[in-house]
């Protein structure tokens, strides 16, 4: 087993355990912190896939901006963890059951897909994840969606301000 495989398994196990802890923690602030750990693990996955630009953007945008926004909102509301309403045990059981069935169904589907047999993911090599080819593609082929996304950001900003002012 070489280093990349060990890294893959370690990061995957870390991400899955942290993701489960997001659901299990009673305190919402702990959930946010566990989710930040999941995002760091996913950024590690991007790095071993040599998608360096996305790894950095994932840390800056998700772990940096979005999670800080979540933390601000939670601290603003001062939600007590013991007052949080819980779903009934039966509903929780049914939820876990349906989520698990979805997982088993999709895994069974992937396992019998013949087109995926023997396909390998290129790890640690390849240049498409670097900033130079990505920037070229973004500003040549995808320049219109890029500009439209700025309009989307403007409308989201206006919407958030208007909703927050009411």
């Amino acid at each position: 087993m070489d280093t990349l495989e060990i890294l893959f398994y370690a990061l995957s196990a870390f991400a899955i355990v942290s993701a489960i802890m997001v659901l299990v923690s009673k305190n919402p602030i702990h959930s946010v912190l566990w989710l930040i750990l999941v995002f760091f693990a996913i950024s590690g996955h991007y790095i071993i896939l040599n998608a360096q630009f996305l790894a950095i953007v994932n840390i800056i945008v998700y772990a940096g901006a979005i999670m800080v926004l979540f933390l601000f909102v939670i601290m603003l509301m001062n939600v007590q963890s013991d007052k949080e309403p819980q779903k009934k045990l039966l509903i929780k059981f049914i939820g876990v059951l349906s989520g698990g069935s979805l997982l088993i169904l999709l895994i069974a589907l992937v396992k019998q897909t013949a087109q995926l047999e023997g396909k390998q993911v290129l790890m640690k090599e390849g240049t498409i994840g670097l900033i130079h080819p990505l920037g070229k593609a973004l500003f040549n082929d995808y320049v219109l969606p890029f500009e439209i996304s700025s309009v989307l950001f403007l409308s989201a900003m206006v919407g958030a301000v208007i909703i927050g002012k009411k």
Binding site: F8, I66, V79, G95, V96, G99, L116, L122
Partner: protein, 111 residues
């Protein structure tokens, strides 16, 4: 690394997100689980892009096949950031009106 391992890992993360949406009543946690699902999809897109790029590099060196998936991931992150800002504004508004973040109160948004 075979592509199946990445698919299994991302499916597990996605299903954990689905279970979280179905079992929790705190609107903020539900929102965080949606972010988790988006991230699982992002990672799978990058894995598939590297798979296609690896296949294309064996035929034509210097090929940039599969770069579209990484641009897609970039745009998914953009949309997620916009979505989170509006969604958290709605949650804050709901908390001001009902003093609770229970999702069962969200049906009062229409009034």
């Amino acid at each position: 690394m075979p592509i199946q391992y990445y698919i299994f890992f991302c499916l597990t993360l996605f299903s954990i997100g689905v279970i979280g949406v179905l079992t929790r009543r705190n609107a903020i946690i539900v929102f965080m689980c949606i972010e988790l699902m988006l991230n699982a999809v992002n990672l799978l897109l990058v894995a598939f892009s590297k798979m296609h790029n690896g296949a294309a590099l064996q035929i034509a060196p210097g090929s940039t096949a599969g770069i579209d998936a990484q641009i897609f991931v970039f745009f998914i992150m953009v949309v997620a950031a916009a979505e989170v800002s509006v969604g958290l504004a709605i949650i804050v508004m709901m908390f001001r009106n009902t003093h609770s973040v229970d999702i069962n109160f969200l049906n009062r948004l229409k009034n």
